[in-house]
């Protein structure tokens, strides 16, 4: 069980590392969020939406789980 999670994290970490290599560009401004034409702001917004969506689906999942357990 822990093995699966650990290997999953490893896979994603590896993928992210490779993306960092690709993403190296010239930063004209010091602030990360304002560099690269503020693309990081878009990334932050989309990540917020994505994580929010996942939290919603996760809570729905838990709710249905409780329903199923309660009536059995």
């Amino acid at each position: 069980m822990h093995k699966i999670v650990r290997s999953l994290w490893l896979v994603v970490f590896g993928l992210l590392c490779s993306s960092i290599l690709f993403a190296q560009g010239t930063n004209t401004e010091a602030d990360v969020m304002r560099s690269n034409g503020k693309i990081y702001v878009v990334v932050a917004v989309c990540l917020t939406i994505l994580i929010g969506l996942f939290i919603y689906v996760f809570l729905l999942d838990r709710k249905i789980c409780r329903l199923e357990k309660g009536k059995d």
């Binding site: 069980m1 699966i4 999670v5 999953l8 994290w9 994603v12 993928l15 992210l16 490779s18 993306s19 690709f22 993403a23 690269n36 693309i39 990081y40 878009v42 990334v43 989309c46 990540l47 994505l50 994580i51 996942f54 689906v57 996760f58 729905l60 999942d61 249905i64 329903l67 199923e68 009536k71």
Partner: protein
């Protein structure tokens, strides 16, 4: 709990990776589309997820017809529903993308550009699946509904082949994959445009979006099974 639900976590992690790498990775600078090639990680993945969900739905319809177990019918209909939803998302994102890449002349309207074999084929297949839900809704008898809609679902799946895989490959189109555009696949030009860096994001993205679709479908299925519990067990 973790042993059963690891793929949900995988879906979240893959999609986080898709968003981060999808926006920040270097992409080949192609004419006309430029940075919008990043839509590949989102628009194309919707269609991939739709196809995989439809395949699952098709398999459950066959399974239903083999044993007439109503659980299988619930599985088939809910996978088809989520698949159709992903198809609608793919269609609308494609319309937005086409609006900014296919219109070269300012006097052109989006409506004239969207008369495309690929898009019409996709619309037809979505409408066929829409008819599947109309058909389901028109029955009051559960067994009859399950049986007829399972047969119809197999027909709908069979029609996916000509409408989105065969005809777009035969006729000219602005969409990648038409015979004139020297690419082999209606979804992506794998030979020239999709370099290694893009593949590294695209394939994880397909898996991530598909898993999210499957997750939503299982939620719908569990809710329906819970509602119909008394009916199925009776």
């Amino acid at each position: 709990m973790l042993k059963k639900n690891w793929w949900k976590i995988l879906s979240l992690l893959l999609l986080i990776y898709t968003v981060i790498a999808g926006y920040l990775n270097k992409v080949p600078d192609l004419p006309i589309i430029h940075q919008s090639i990043r839509n590949l990680y989102f628009h194309v993945c919707m269609w991939f997820a739709m196809m995989i969900l439809f395949i699952i739905s098709f398999v459950y319809s066959i399974k239903y017809l083999r044993g007439f177990n109503l659980r299988k019918d619930i599985f088939a209909s809910n996978f088809a529903a989520v698949g159709t939803f992903f198809g609608i998302l793919g269609y609308s994102t494609g319309a937005i993308w086409a609006n900014y890449t296919w219109i070269t002349d300012q006097s052109q309207s989006l409506g004239s550009v969207l008369k495309e074999p690929k898009l019409i084929g996709a619309a037809i297949s979505l409408l066929i699946y829409g008819a599947y839900f109309v058909l389901r809704g028109s029955f009051t008898d559960m067994d009859k509904r399950a049986r007829i809609s399972a047969v119809y679902n197999i027909f709908a799946f069979a029609l996916l082949f000509p409408s989105i895989w065969i005809i777009p490959r035969l006729v000219g189109s602005l969409h990648p994959g038409a015979p004139g555009s020297d690419s082999g696949n209606p979804a992506l030009n794998a030979q020239n445009d999709l370099d290694l860096g893009m593949r590294l994001v695209f394939y994880p993205a397909v898996i991530g979006w598909t898993l999210l679709g499957v997750w939503i479908a299982t939620l719908k299925i569990r809710l329906q099974l819970f509602k119909d519990k008394t009916l199925i067990n009776a």
